[in-house]
Amino acid sequence: MEALKTSAPALPPGFSLRETRADGSQEYFLNMGPQHPSTHGVLKLVVRLDGETVVEVVPHLGFIHRAIEKMGENETFVQYIHLTDRMDYLSSHINNLGVCMAIEKAMGIGVPERGEYIRVLVSELQRIQSHLLWWGAFGMDLGAVSAFLYGFKEREKITQLFEELCGARLTMNFFRPGGSNADVPEGFIGKVKELLEEMKFSLDEFDTLISKNMIIRERCFGVGRLSRERAANYGCSGPVGRASGVDFDVRRDDPYSIYDRFKFEVPLGSNGDCLDRYLVRIAEMRQSVRILEQVVAAFPEGQYRSKEKASYKVPAGSYFSAVETARGMFGTYFVSDNSFKPYRVKSRSPNFSNLSALNEMAQGGKIADLVAILSTLDLIIPDIDR
């Protein structure tokens, strides 16, 4: 017992505590995670605290590292698709799409009209689904537990649509080079139309419950500010970057699939605080609904996939594709040596860059602010560790 109290292990560099002050107070460390209700996964934050004020946050990664990119070197190109489900599991469709697009670029495969529409349809549903889960978790992190259930109730509708579409609810493995695994089932578009109507109603409901709540505004306004320059330097993308004013959305600035055919706005924030990140995501859900309305209105008949092939012998070279997931820019980089398996795979995950800004944002705030910031960063830990 005594040994416990006296033998303090030497601290690694960057972890020094300040000297005991004149009033006898001292800074201390708090381990948040790997099991903590608001890290949403196995993220560990070593927080240096002065009372309740955060001095420094050091994220510790690697608790769920599975070497997905290394595994990709031992799988064929098509087999790699399903591994990306396990990165950002809330954007699995969009990750799949990124991989498929890289393969299509390499092989020069085209996608039929209906296939492109399916891609946009499913991607936007996925984005709403992911933001809904985030919304619920955000409410719970800030203590409004009921919001969690409301968010999940809405998300469940989309998840059920996905289940109907590809049999999976989380790890989809749906897109293929040249289109998708299957056509949309009968009556699917009608169900999406119904969902969109319900979605508009529930988004208004969310505003009443959380967005307009004074406590939420108090807790989020001016908290965890990230300037435009710093956000750009950290490589923050997606809602986190856009809330800080980084006007970048892959869907608009480097249009893939048929995003250039649809009218939508890219919501921007100006303060870069938690409230902006919150509002940007809510606005994004409305924009996704807008895109989806255009998609279902013009949904064409025809083939959903250009040609089917079990594996692709990709010509030597390097190929890159970028998609906009619910969390930002997801890049897939293949190096091929003219074989059936990639020579190297690298993913650019939005969460890793977004997490890197955490320390700067949390400094000087309270522990409760740290939780709010973590929540509005909307991190998916398996996407950081991969």
């Binding site: 201390y28 409410g139 800030l142 203590g143 409004a144 537990v145 009921s146 259930l149 522990i367 409760a368």
Partner: protein, 360 residues
């Protein structure tokens, strides 16, 4: 004003048939047994109610499997908690760690002793009842403080330090609201306070003292929510920040004592609110004789529980609707708004009382 007898027939029976000291001891034992029963049943029922209310707020059903409407669920939970090992983590201060869970429940038990459940159902009617309530409810804070300190866990420590700051501050505005009623009724005895509200419902202190009564009630509800450590002011628990705060390390029976105290405290606090502001055990009277006679048929204890449970529902409503405040917002809410507001309200109340601008 009608005279309402204060003595309970059971007590009278014992007093008539036993020598004085034995009658006192017998009555004391009956009171303790009755309170212990009430505490247990209330806690179990409130756990069920909280789960049901929360479920319906969240578009769920809540417990449905154990017993009718899931009524036996809390009993199953209690058995589970009692069977669990009472873990003593390494490095805890054993005395503080094991003593702490007992203090909050003691505090709420003592508060219940002066609450008039019915005209003849009150353990003891202290002349300084309101002061006594304030004094003994402080035991709960002590339990949380030493529990958090003794747990040897930084989350617990943070939680208990938060609750120290929070509970001591909110007690001020709560006491001021209670004193307003003391001022209006001219007595600190809870029974006398109830009796000063006889008549139609506008004789309840919430309405009787124009404006000041409602303001005091609102302030009382807010500050008692903070006192109870319930959401949105449950900063010492703060599940999503501090993983449970002061009771992070507690399991089994120790945890269930904290849990029990939380619910009994809620009952005591709501009971106090009903007593002070809503006429306690007095029946609701609408000022229309035939209806009033019918309403007065219900015994006082039913009215007390009806009013108390309405307030409990309000507490639950707060909890399952609002997000949590941040510690500095919480403290500035108290010191910059609630406390000045209570003081201004007190001044208003004093003026009203002095000039007899009170609904007769």
């Amino acid at each position: 004003m009608t005279e309402i007898p204060a003595n309970n027939p059971v007590g009278d029976f014992l007093r008539a048939n036993l020598p004085a000291p034995w009658a006192a001891i017998g009555n004391g034992l009956i009171a303790v047994a009755a309170l212990a029963g009430l505490v247990t049943v209330t806690a179990i029922f409130l756990i069920w109610l909280e789960r049901k209310v929360c479920a319906h707020f969240q578009a769920r059903l809540g417990p449905t499997r154990v017993g009718p409407f899931g009524l036996l669920q809390p009993i199953a939970d209690a058995i589970k908690l009692l069977m669990k090992e009472n873990v003593k983590p390494r490095g805890v201060d054993a005395l503080a760690y094991f003593l702490a869970p007992l203090l909050p429940i003691t505090g709420s038990f003592l508060v219940l002793a002066v609450i008039p459940f019915g005209p003849t159902l009150q353990v003891v009617d202290l002349q300084a009842g309101v002061v006594y309530v304030v004094a003994v409810s402080g035991l709960g804070i002590l339990g949380i403080l030493i529990g958090g300190w003794g747990s040897n866990n930084k989350y617990s420590l943070l939680g208990s330090m938060r609750s120290g700051a929070q509970l001591f501050s909110y007690e001020l505005s709560m006491v001021l609201c209670m004193l307003l009623i003391v001022m209006g009724s001219g007595t600190a005895s809870l029974r006398e306070i109830v009796l000063s509200q006889q008549g139609p419902f506008w004789h309840w202190w919430i309405i009787k003292m124009p404006l000041a009564g409602v303001a005091a009630f609102v302030l009382f509800m807010v500050s008692s929510t903070a006192e109870l450590n319930r959401g949105p002011l449950d900063l010492s628990e703060a599940e999503s920040e501090l993983t449970g705060g002061f009771h992070t390390e507690y399991t089994g029976i120790s945890f269930s004592m904290f849990f029990l105290a939380e619910f009994v405290n809620m009952f005591a606090s709501a009971g106090l609110g009903a007593t002070l502001f809503l006429g306690g055990f007095l029946p609701v009277q609408l000022g229309y004789a035939p209806v009033d006679h019918a309403l007065a048929m219900l015994p006082g204890v039913c009215w007390f529980f009806a009013k108390t449970y309405s307030l409990i529902f309000l507490y639950m409503w707060f909890r399952w609707t609002f997000p949590r405040l941040r510690i500095d917002h919480l403290l500035s809410l108290e010191w910059k708004f609630l406390l000045p507001a209570s003081m201004a309200n007190m001044l208003l109340g004093a003026t009203l009382v002095a000039f007899r601008w009170i609904i007769p």
